[in-house]
């Protein structure tokens, strides 16, 4: 889950936000700042969330920039044990 804010062209902030809300897994919320709105993006994996932000949201018409603020990793697959060895070899 990623929390981010979006800077958008002020003239069409409402339109940009509506287009953003059409993206699945994305919710918007108000921010008390001109030219900005907040988003929370959820997905089954970080890959999916990343695709939403980088692949769709940042490319929306009117979006100047997407600035992630928080990322929660709830991924039990992240390894913690020791891994031995390393690739080597002379070039």
């Amino acid at each position: 889950m990623v929390g981010a804010y979006v800077r958008a062209k002020t003239a069409d902030l409402g339109g940009t936000r509506r287009r953003a809300e059409e993206i699945e897994g994305l919710e918007t919320f108000d921010l008390e700042r001109e030219g900005m709105f907040g988003v929370v993006v959820e997905g089954p994996s970080i890959d999916a969330v990343h695709d939403v932000i980088e692949g769709r949201l940042t490319r929306l018409e009117g979006v100047l920039g997407v600035f992630p603020v928080s990322l929660e990793i709830d991924d039990p697959s992240v390894p913690t044990g020791a891994v031995k060895g390393t690739p080597g070899g002379v070039s």
């Binding site: 889950m1 990623v2 929390g3 981010a4 804010y5 800077r7 002020t10 919320f29 921010l31 008390e32 700042r33 001109e34 030219g35 900005m36 907040g38 988003v39 929370v40 959820e42 970080i46 890959d47 990343h50 932000i53 980088e54 100047l64 920039g65 600035f67 992630p68 603020v69 928080s70 990322l71 929660e72 990793i73 709830d74 991924d75 992240v78 390894p79 913690t80 020791a82 891994v83 031995k84 060895g85 390393t86 690739p87 080597g88 070899g89 002379v90 070039s91």
Partner: protein, 771 residues
């Protein structure tokens, strides 16, 4: 009230965003899952120095969020930072020492590895002298680590062969600051962003390389309609989207643009004669020596750079130069630049000319008015530049050439008088050239990846790794396998930043502590521990005086005390930045000579800079707000009359394109860290080459097809990306991918600036073909 974990997370995410965008006012309302402990720290990536909160659960680093209470970055971080928990836990972290045996790296014990490293260094020093060994460090090591390595090599072993990768990114900025103002490091701070009305962004892809700074600029522009942005860059990077004036010179021919802007400013009487009369001097180099000239001489010199003449030299339309000059002079103007100005064979001069514009308009030392060099690494400033961990300098503004400075450091370090040589050691390129000639016999490489990041890389890869009789011994300390560890004789596994406690010093002179929050994996150790071990073994072998380092320092806290003392009576004085303050506060900007000093937003300004209040530079005749360039000769900053020379290797008939290299938003430098987050790797799975569509059409290159890029030094391959970013005749390739075909630094040139010794990564001549 009960809620699900998902709701908790969502509330936390929303709260973090609200906090970040409202100056942290509601940060305390964040609801957190109970098991998580949040620890204040600083980001591991670029020199912006974003405050971060690291989330720990069950001994694992599982979450990261921007620190809403951070005074300058206010909760913002970029995508790279958010993936740090995954990067730290990458599956292929190095966990045990390795020694090359019969051409293959084999696991070894720490004792066996360290004994081999120490023996090789000792043998070389005893047989060939101290200058037969070298240290190549990093703007990513902690300040305490760089300081310790510098102390060991210069004051213990007795060689100035101490370098670091900031030579590749920041050296020209250092040269610019020192030759113009007398001392390194910016005089302004991020505070100035909020006061500026004009931003002059030069050779800086701020949107991708310093996104949090870019956001602050964007916020200022959104909030105040009279804020304007001038961009000077031969490539239209994403910042061009917000440019009100876009100047795109022929690559390497921007010096005439700076001079021409100065010409317009003076011709139209937009300069500040009082400031110039009080605070500036003018110099030109004649017969290899700087000579003082008058303001009138400068005006005459600038006649060679009328907008029309500059247009002929640079390709920038004259009317745009005039417009940019008028806006700059109107101000308040804050200038930012990075590698586009620094990675040049005339990088110092380009920096000087940037400063010239601020000096002749008096736009310095006042809110919103400052030249500001952004840094690419988290600790190039605090760790390498400030601690003097380059071949020609000593800690906190001292020079190896000055006997007084050498004596001061020898005394503080307890070194034998005369140990520090008066001659600068080898700069980075010359150090690796000496390695190729087998004159450097042993090298310690720490937290950096020269096997991928050096220009003309094939030559230096061979120098490090090609088997041959008498091949120099290479020890690499790193947390991950890289294109450099594969060349090493010994690889030592390093702790990552979250696994050790130390200080990073970022672009605006803010020193910040990052605490250890988790244990390092396997047998990994901090670079600090490894350096202590190394020093002790060298003492036992008789090549470093007994007790010089061994037994003196147990933790990084211990050496910080000495570092603070080393800053006494210097322009850096940070004796007031105690360890306790660093633990409690969100960093402090030096100078801060006393424990109750809040830190300095603007240097050289009476009432703000404490260096003007007490100590060797004090001047109590000044009124609050008055400026004094106390480190400059006669207290006057220098306006330089620099010739408008172009790049070392301009394009020609055989190699008709200019290659420029750089970064992308999701990847950082050689990708050692960011490529280990699958999500970031996926965003740019392979290397690409930006080509202007007009050039592509002429060469029959289609979007997505493979192209071959060849220079006089080597070849690389990449996927074509047709975009009107680079101007015609120019291509752009990021250097983040490690695979052989994409290794673009096999193509780049190792020509370097004669002043800063920084290589010209940004410009070399290539030919481009369909692969």
């Amino acid at each position: 009230m009960r809620s699900t974990r998902r709701e908790f997370m969502k509330t936390a995410a929303v709260s973090a965003v609200v906090a970040a965008t409202s100056g942290g006012a509601v940060a305390e309302t964040v609801l957190r899952p109970e098991p998580i402990r949040w620890v204040k720290s600083v980001c591991r990536f670029c020199g912006t120095g974003c405050g971060v909160m690291l989330g720990v659960r069950d001994g694992r680093f599982v979450a990261l969020r921007g620190d809403a209470k951070h005074p300058t970055t206010k909760g913002l971080v970029c995508a790279k930072s958010l993936f740090l928990p995954k990067i730290v836990q990458a599956k292929d972290r190095l966990k045990v020492p390795q020694i090359r045996k019969n051409g293959v790296l084999k696991d070894a014990s720490w004792d066996e590895a360290m004994e081999l490293v120490a023996s090789k260094f000792a043998e070389s020093i005893q047989k060939h002298g101290p200058d037969s060994v070298a240290f190549y460090g990093s703007g990513q090591a902690m300040s305490e680590e760089s300081y310790l390595a510098n102390r060991l090599f210069k004051g213990g072993i007795g060689t100035n062969n101490v370098e670091g990768n900031p030579r590749l990114c920041m050296a020209s900025a250092v040269g610019g600051y020192v030759t113009t103002f007398g001392k390194d490091e910016p005089m302004g701070s991020y505070d100035d962003i909020d006061h500026a009305k004009v931003f002059f962004l030069v050779g800086s892809n701020t949107a991708e390389c310093h996104p949090v700074i870019f956001d602050r600029i964007l916020a200022t522009k959104q909030a105040r309609k009279d804020v304007l942005v001038i961009v000077l860059d031969p490539r239209r990077s994403p910042i061009a989207e917000i440019a009100d004036v876009m100047l795109d010179p022929k690559p390497g021919f921007d010096l005439p643009v700076f001079h021409s802007m100065a010409h317009v400013i003076i011709k139209e009487n937009l300069h500040d004669p009082d400031f110039i009369a009080k605070h500036c001097q003018f110099k030109i180099v004649k017969d290899g020596k700087p000579v003082n000239v008058s303001f009138d001489d400068y005006v005459k010199f600038l006649e060679g750079f009328t907008p029309r003449k500059a247009e002929l030299q640079s390709g920038v339309p004259a009317d745009q130069i005039v417009e940019a000059a008028r806006l700059f002079a109107k101000g308040p103007t804050m200038s930012f630049w990075t590698m586009g100005l620094n990675q040049r064979s005339r990088g110092v001069w380009a920096n000087n000319l940037m400063h010239n514009l601020h000096l002749i308009t008096g736009q310095i030392g006042k809110p919103g008015m400052t030249p500001f060099s952004l840094t690419g690494q988290p600790n190039a400033c605090g760790g390498v530049r400030d601690t003097g961990s380059l071949c020609h300098i000593l800690p906190y503004g001292r020079s190896v050439k000055k006997a007084k400075h050498r004596e001061e450091m020898e005394k503080l370090w307890g070194a034998k008088p005369g140990t520090i040589p008066p001659k600068p050691g080898l700069n980075t390129i010359e150090m690796f050239r000496a390695l190729a000639r087998d004159e450097i016999k042993a090298m310690l490489i720490l937290t950096t990846n020269p096997g991928q990041s050096l220009p003309n890389a094939s030559v230096y890869r061979d120098a490090m790794g090609k088997p041959r009789p008498g091949k120099p011994f290479i020890c690499v300390i790193d947390a991950y396998p890289t294109r450099t560890t594969e060349l090493a004789d010994v690889v030592l596994p390093a702790a990552m930043w979250s696994e050790k406690t130390g200080v990073f010093g970022m672009s605006e002179r803010r020193y910040q502590l990052h605490p250890k929050i988790i244990d390092a994996p396997g047998e990994s150790r901090s670079d600090f521990d490894v350096l202590l071990d190394f020093a002790t073994r060298l003492e036992e072998k008789g090549v470093v005086p007994k007790g010089y380092i061994g037994g003196k320092f147990k933790t990084t806290d211990d050496i910080w005390e000495e570092m603070r003392e080393a800053s006494r009576d210097t322009a850096y004085d940070f004796r007031g930045i105690t360890r306790e303050r660093l633990r409690n506060e969100r960093g402090v900007r030096w100078p801060a000579p006393t424990p109750n000093h809040p830190g300095t937003s603007r240097r050289f300004v009476k009432g703000e800079d404490p260096i003007l209040d007490a100590g060797p530079y004090a001047d109590n005749t000044l009124k609050p707000g008055e400026i004094k360039f106390y480190a400059a000769p006669k207290f006057r900053a220098t306006v330089w009359l620099r010739p408008p020379l172009g790049p070392s290797e301009p394009p020609d008939d055989e190699y008709p394109f200019v290659l420029s290299t750089g970064r992308v938003l999701e990847h950082w430098h050689t990708g050692t860290m960011t490529m280990r987050a699958r999500e970031l790797r996926r965003s740019y799975p392979e290397c690409f080459c930006e080509i202007n569509p007009k050039d592509a059409k002429r060469l029959g290159i289609k979007n997505g097809s493979r192209v071959k890029i060849t220079s006089r030094r080597g070849t690389a391959w990449a996927k074509a990306r047709l975009i009107a970013g680079p101007r015609e005749g120019m291509i752009f390739v990021p250097f983040c991918w490690e695979d052989d075909p994409s290794l673009i630094n096999r193509v780049t040139i190792d020509a370097y600036d004669p002043g800063s010794k920084q290589p010209e990564f940004k410009i070399c001549a290539v030919k481009l073909e369909k692969a």
